[in-house]
Amino acid sequence: MIAESGHYALVLALGLALIQSIVPLIGARLNDVALMNVARSAALAQLLFVGASFVALVTLHVNSDFSVANVYENSHSMKPLLYKITGVWGNHEGSMLLWVSILALFGGLVAAFGNNLPLSLRAHVLAVQAWVASAFYLFILVTSNPFLRIANPPIEGRDLNPVLQDIGLAVHPPMLYLGYVGFSISFSFAIAALMEGRIDAAWARWVRPWTLVAWIFLTLGIAMGSYWAYYELGWGGWWFWDPVENASLMPWLSGTALLHSALVMEKRNALKVWTILLSILTFSLSLLGTFLVRSGVITSVHAFATDPTRGVFILLILCLFIGGSLSLFAGRATSLKQGGLFAPISREGALVLNNLLLTVACAVVLFGTLYPLAMEMLADFKMSVGAPFYNLTFAPLFTLLLLAVPFGPMLAWKRGDLLGVTQRLLAAGVAGLVAVAIAWGWASGGSTLAPLAIGLGVFVIAGAVTDIVERTGLVRLPFPTALHRARGLPRSAWGAALAHAGLGVALIGIVCETTWNSEHIATMKQNDVAHIAGFDVKLDGVLQRQGPNYREMIAEFNVSLDGKPLSVMTPSKRSFTTRGSSTTEAALLTRGASQLYISLGDANAEGAIAVRIYYKPMVLMIWWGPVLMAFGGVLSLSDRRLRVGAPKPARAKQRLQPAE
């Protein structure tokens, strides 16, 4: 019954989405308030039904109802409850259902909190949102129904892929989807603005918080995924330039650009057309990411050709929305009035440079992701584009961007004084150079570029600090005055400084980890001692343990530094019987920002065990950076909330309208 109800709720949600796609637009055309208001109730009802459908699928997984194909293929009655729940989106059908649920959630949020939007803008936005939703409901119902029953229900399920049986699955995909799908809001706003042919600074003020929310989640989602891969896959890699990762990086790059260009539009009423285009591109890249991951085209273009329904369906959605929105853009963009002149050297100019570098970097990643696919399709040979390619292309572009980052916030709007800003950034520059010198002195081995990159990271952080010091007058003015000014500083200024500093923090972590990472791989017997980066790691023994749905081999290591015992580390290797596969559970010992990392290989006949030990200096900074960026985003968001939306009188006017 539950499966059928879930299925039925999904069909109803599709029906509501179709109503929401059409009726509000008719209302906007006829200027009929009642018809336009249909959008609001339809969006909320749609959220209710798709939510019910999602809860139904979760219930089926929790109850281990193996008569449902999706549960049978991805669950097991012995699986811990947490993984029964997270397993819902650890597979294709369930993750698509999560995708549309989040889409409906964002639509519902606009409907619920968009009271201060002009009525026709809200109607248009929700209608566009419903187009996207309808397409994906159809996709799920036609090609990937999670509620399909099996005629002869098996007794036991096939279990979830062991790699996914981790807390990471509970956090990473929902976060990532909140980011991906969150960009649908700015997309809908952009299409609505094009359809209405009207756009102003208020538009940017509405769009920015939504973009910021999506960006925060995407930032955290990517960082979380990277940390998950780092500790779960057992060799300490944290970024692979894998197409699946690129699929999430591309919307992040263009979303970051959008965030900055919307700022120019909001403050200076300039870059309107470009902001609209970026909104469309960012969500298009999210759709492209969904296509790349969901169609199977990544594993092989031939896999795509042999099971074409899903892939072709998403490709159709992709072409329809990207092609449609870009044609609309081409047709209407010229009618939008341009405003806000500025000199090339100015805050606006700096933000244009930021946008330029981010979008070009994004294009490079797009090229690297699609080139092998195109080559396989057209020339029928296989190749892979990996880290070396991106080191030679993405890295230089990002270096330029980071060099420019400290200058941007310190330039004045309209016309800036580059020389003056350079003088004010002198201290930050000196800090960077000192860092280069220190890193050079300390560094033993590794690339000569590494100290320079660390200097760049320090320059970015020091630049962010300089910006705050300048704004508060910390050095020039007496301390109480500065404190007062710091309190009066808009939170968005703090947010921007934190986010920019986060970039520097992440860069330092990346450089340190890749350059001075030391590794020790050996077969170890009991009481063998490995020496790495000053640590003595002694294997105390190996024991076996039975987990809920796996067997586990645990090795116990005693770690000491300079003869003083420090800690006990227990990496393990789990064998899952149902899928006949195993996972490596690495043990991590954190010392400041650095980590000692132990993972196990196979045990041989004599009881010796293959062990991988890494010392990863400053590795945690790689993820502290994004967390800092996201925190900056949250600060900025909390600032916006006070001033967000239309001017107050508009809201009062709406309240005075008679009830329909």
Binding site: P173, I298, L341, L353, K382, T523, N604
Partner: protein, 175 residues
Amino acid sequence: MTRKQRRMTIIGGSLAVLALAAALVLNALRDSIVFFSTPSMVAEKHVEPGKRFRLGGLVQPGSLQRGDNLAVTFEVADGNAKLPVAYKGILPDLFREGQGVVAEGALDAQGVFKADTVLAKHDETYMPKEVADALKKQGHWKDDYGGKPSNGDKTSDAGKPAATTAQGNPQGAMR
């Protein structure tokens, strides 16, 4: 500055950045792309020692030999030809004899493929897609390799890389 000059500055700047990016990409395409080959492709075409490529095929049953200090040798075969592979490090969880493997590295002067990375895809069928495609093309595909048509998306669901990788000892790496 007039309006026109401002516009030209911005357009000129954009073109400069685009040209820079294009130059970077073209430069990177020259030598940072890694091609995929099977043992018979290696046998047909002369591959220079030291040129990096990805080798895919089946691990020849009975060929796996473990030496001291985690050194391993095995042969990769595709039905027509086979190629000896040397690797130092821990093999991935899914590495088995008789099953598909992809190794990245380069040939040495003796014609031995020195691998610094060994990949085994996380798939129920233990058959990397590239290998399966190559074997099919050469007519060596047996249905029992596959079992059932694999869902390529099974593991990439969470956005995680779909392969386990063993990174070799850096000393074994050839650049």
